[in-house]
Symmetry: C2
Subunit: 544 residues, 2 copies
């Protein structure tokens, strides 16, 4: 069976297990019944799925989760046991015909338009537009939100880590043990990779999504060895000559030689640790990357040099405690001293991995201190999105039977933009995105080189003319007539899309501290449409 | 098929899909190979799974996730495709016999002891003790951590909400759309229920775990109606007489009568909203609970009184925006005025549900303001555990081949307590738990009425004598010889265990602000054992 077959098989097992129509809030089903009972079976609705604020005090978001949404639409079906459960759970006076209606429901009459997965997106611009029978479109709400909210939040978080870490540092996701359970961990691995991470420690995520998996050993491996007697075999065959080499003798000898170069005495180094490292090196001579603390540097260098005698080059070390900036600099200096002393230039380039409660701010601080880390392993803060653990996507009715709907609120930020709309991204001559523009679908698309009046949706005086050098229509139809119209791109392409999409954003919008907000505007026509509707719908209060 | 059969079937589908040996960090498998290669196949290890700090700035934690851990042990098996994937993923020079070894691995030689699920637990006291072959015990680490960490965090969070809300208020979990994906949402529903919530909006969680599901309608239901013409049918049959009642006529009439009593003019009430509420009432005459804003109160009361004319009692309202304390008081006063004016005493007792970004502090603040809310619907803050999105359980090697292991750290909080241990909870005469005591397994259990010296594990001078009135041995063997020895309790019993276990804690330990720490001690014997081992293992540094 090919790796791709395996991937599909396992994806499907997962999908079928959990993502199903009952993965929803009960009120969707009670509303469905009330709609059904009110004769609204043929009502046609348009819902927008969007968020109101960028996460992490940033000014951009990465849209992800579309592929999972399409699978959900494809598999949407109430099983017999689902219907049986609903009959037990809903009040006894529900008409039986409603359950027959549910039983036959599919998404064949739904049309789903979306922004491309992996794109940079902004508040108020719908990520998904769902059109079709009111009842079915309503029944999709919670599941679509669940699939988009966490995926987009994770991808955005990962992209932010990638930006602060820079292009030349590897990023590995190590968060499974702290994620929201098994599937939370899998989603975290997947969307961290999409957002720009290089790999994960999560083996099942590797298998399911074909993501590179990485890992070395834990501290318990070291503590399971006490003395040099715990080494089972000390023999490693030379990489080329196949001559047996005694790795223990070599490492012991090197430990003495190295200790004079790097000023750590062999007494400070633990024999149990040396035994562990030798055993690990014999198991993984081509992939020797060892977890060490300060005193462990001597043992590591000794084993790495012994491996070199056997024709293998060590990979490097992982530091998991202490002052990561200081320790990485110390380790790099040590490697350089050894490279110089023993004429092994490659030794100075050994990989230094750092883990231990790393977040965006830690990386920024390490950058300032001039660390020498090649790779960060990031867990808790990444997968729980500790800085903001939820993206607040909402799903709002904007049109019914061709009539626009507006949700009013005393909080102007919560007023929805009504009607069936299109979204365009307008680019400047230098290739950067200038503004996202929402228009009524009946309006002609903005033209390249033509002056477009862009208005703030709610502040009358905020207006600007824009002459775009390029116009991108943000929506494509991904699902129609019961079929996926555009196949979702493979993970790797979505991952590339994230980086190419981010490159179109000016640096000041992406920066960590006080970023400049990106503008989202409405056309003059849509502005007037919103405000006319607002006045029609808002009751005139009475001061008393 | 019975409901229980359905539940089991769906649990299993989920379990088999995701919780499997590959749901782990790669380093567990590389370590397994290094152990195997080092001849450690017959080494026997003891690992403790514990956390170091209570979450949410509290002084207690609820232990949950044990049932899932047992299922994981039961199903532990590398499939052919797992092995194939590992062969592709690990370095090419891995000996093929290792894969044959993995292929046959099961948990039959593992012994798992644990504290009862749903118990109050404290830092440093192991929740799980895993004994058995080093390699297998090591391979379980990440998955056990994943299953315990989020489950315990959620159950603890839910229990804290329950405490601040008090016994007489219902708590509903509404968080699916903001959870870490589908399974994050299911776990949140399950462990919120265990922690003391009364139900969830998540229908699949209801079906899988037999949790009560609750829900009404969303704002979009109201906005989908524009005018009174949108009502499909206005007829509801009387609950007893079966006479047809015209709910629209009745509600319109009541709207005029009520408006004079509660001082909201009918012009302020929206006809679209009235149409929506009438339609909802006709669909759910026995379960009429409506989402309303301030002006919606008039429409709600009109429909509720119309329903009363048809022999049905409305359930109540949900408030989802604005000042919840003020609005709940206003709504209660309105209900009381109507009860008085129309001689309908039950009307004053209508249920008031509040939702909208509620957290522990919001509830405390509402309590201070004297709210009139009967039920909270809680989403984002509950399911993401926003205040602290991860519990830091760790899994540490404490003994190998009968020899104790200690992990030293410059941070004394990270030093592990070595050896095979037992844990006892000592109770005072008033029934409250006094202290948790860790002992070496070779020591006799502390006796009721006997003086026990309890020592702080690391601070020499902190000691106390305790004379327990009751002693509870905290560990039971749940898994041995390849079988579950004690069947995990049904969800409802675990949920009751949480409350009974919390009742044994003094109030000052449970309070929200500046709680008193509960004491965890070691026996004198264990104290000396730790410190002797520490001195043997800690290198003597050099000041320079």
């Amino acid at each position: 069976m090919s790796n791709h077959d395996l991937t599909c098989k396992h994806k499907m097992a997962r999908q079928n297990g959990i993502v199903q129509p009952l993965l929803t809030d009960l009120y969707q089903i009670t509303m469905a019944y009330a709609y059904w009972k009110s004769g609204k079976v043929n009502d046609v609705a348009v819902f927008d799925l969007f968020f109101r604020n960028n996460p992490f005090q940033g000014e951009f978001t990465i849209f992800a989760g579309l592929e999972e949404c399409l699978k959900f639409l494809q598999n949407f079906h109430y099983s017999d046991s689902d219907i049986e459960y609903l009959m037990q759970t809903l009040p006894g006076n529900i008409e039986p015909e409603f359950f027959a209606y549910l039983k036959d429901l599919t998404c064949k009459d739904i049309k789903l338009s979306a922004i491309e997965e992996g794109s940079v997106v902004f508040p108020r611009v719908p990520l998904l537009r769902v059109e079709g029978p009111l009842i079915i479109a309503q029944l999709l709400e919670t599941t679509l939100l669940t699939l988009v909210n966490f995926a987009s939040l994770m991808a955005t978080n990962a992209a932010r880590y990638r930006m602060v870490a820079g292009k030349n540092v590897s990023l590995l996701e190590f968060g499974l043990r702290r994620a929201q359970g098994p599937d939370g961990g899998l989603s975290a691995s997947k969307y961290a990779y999409i957002g720009g991470f290089d790999g994960t420690s999560n083996v099942l995520a590797g298998k399911m999504f074909n993501i590179p998996v990485k890992g070395t050993h834990a501290h318990s491996f070291v503590t399971s060895f006490s003395t040099l007697d715990d080494i089972h075999s000390v023999i490693l065959r030379h990489a080329e000559t196949q001559e047996p080499c005694n790795l223990l003798d070599l490492a012991t000898e090197w430990r003495n030689r190295v200790s004079s170069v790097i000023d750590i005495s062999p007494e400070e180094a633990s024999d149990g640790e040396l035994a562990a490292l030798i055993s690990y090196a014999i198991a993984f001579p081509t992939g020797f990357l060892a977890l060490v603390d300060t005193s462990g540097l001597l043992n590591f260098c000794a084993v790495a040099l012994a491996l070199n005698d056997c024709g293998y080059r060590a990979v490097g070390i992982r530091i998991d405690s202490g002052d990561l900036a200081y320790l990485s600099v110390l380790a790099r200096e040590t490697f350089e001293q050894i490279a110089e002393a023993f004429k092994l230039p490659w030794f100075s380039k050994l990989t230094i991995v750092a883990s231990n409660d790393i977040n965006e701010d830690t990386i920024l601080s390490l950058n300032e201190q001039g660390h020498k880390i090649d790779c960060f392993g990031i867990g808790t803060h990444l997968v729980t999105c500790q800085r903001q653990p939820a993206l607040g996507c909402v799903y709002k009715l904007v049109e019914i039977n061709g009539q626009p709907r507006i949700k009013l609120s005393q909080d102007v930020g919560k007023v929805t933009i009504p009607g069936h709309k299109e979204a365009y991204r307008l680019f400047g001559a230098d290739g950067h995105a200038l503004i996202d523009l929402l228009q009524r679908s009946s309006e002609p698309a903005p033209g390249v080189g033509q002056k477009v009046l862009c208005r703030h949706p709610f502040q009358e005086s905020k207006r600007a003319y824009v002459i775009p050098s390029k116009v991108e229509h943000l929506y494509k139809v991904y699902w129609k007539d019961g079929r996926v119209c555009i196949q979702p791109k493979p993970l790797l392409e979505v991952r590339e899309r994230v980086q190419s999409s981010l490159r179109t954003l000016r640096q000041d919008i992406k920066r960590n501290l006080n970023p400049t907000p990106y503008k989202v505007a409405v056309s003059d026509d849509l502005y007037n449409f919103i405000h006319d509707l607002w006045l029609q719908n808002a009751p005139i209060g009475e001061l008393s």
